[in-house]
Amino acid sequence: MTDRSVTHASFVIERVYDASPARVFAAFSDPAARDRWFVKSDSWPIAEYTFDFRVGGRESGRFSPDGTMMVYNETIYQDIVPDNRMVFAYTMMIGDKRISASLATVELKSEGKKTRLFYTEQGAFLDGLDQVADREKGCRDLYEQLAVELERDTATA
């Protein structure tokens, strides 16, 4: 693909876990725990994986969903407040093409014995590489979905 384009977008995902913020944070920071839910959650054969959880530290992985296509994930941790939040920048590549560069924030809020997690991703989506063939969706549907995303963003901001 020779077309160069950048699309900026952001979204928020919210989850409530029946666990303390310390337990949720440990699941992110402990390599063995992280391996179980994060690294292997997509069940992709893993070619390479490194994890250095500290500010300025890197996490990088090479995965192959089908044994031929290679997906690279490269993360740098920008901010870590134990049991509270993590901010990291990451890029994704498919083969030799970078498809996105994002800033992600994970926030943990204590709610009684539970934890409310907010995952916010703000991304630059590059060259339309993720794009699937045109789908049978009206223009209005698309824009309404975007408006909903936007309201989610402002509601949780």
Binding site: F11, Y17, F38, F125, D130
Partner: protein
Amino acid sequence: MFQALADPARRMMVDRLCRGPASVSELAGPLTMSLPSVMQHLQVLELSGLVHSRKIGRVRTCTIDRQVLTQAEQWISDRRALWERRLDALGEYLADNPEEPEPIQTAANQGSET
């Protein structure tokens, strides 16, 4: 892109353009604002890449770029699905591993001492 859709007047303009190309005065029709204000909103929409306009004679005709809408929507839904899956896996992991972790060494985790 999201900034462009953050304003209700601009959302009305996009909504109108979803039905087909329109002139600036057609876009201004349902809005209670001056023509210069409408032009300003149009400029924001054009900068976002969402709307294109072309002047033919005295009439400026605006059209929507469906490609831009599709790309943003596709990006969000793919990336959201990936993280929804991961965060669901985290929930399963937490349910299977109820023990509290050892208290953490804050300094080591923040990398301020190594």
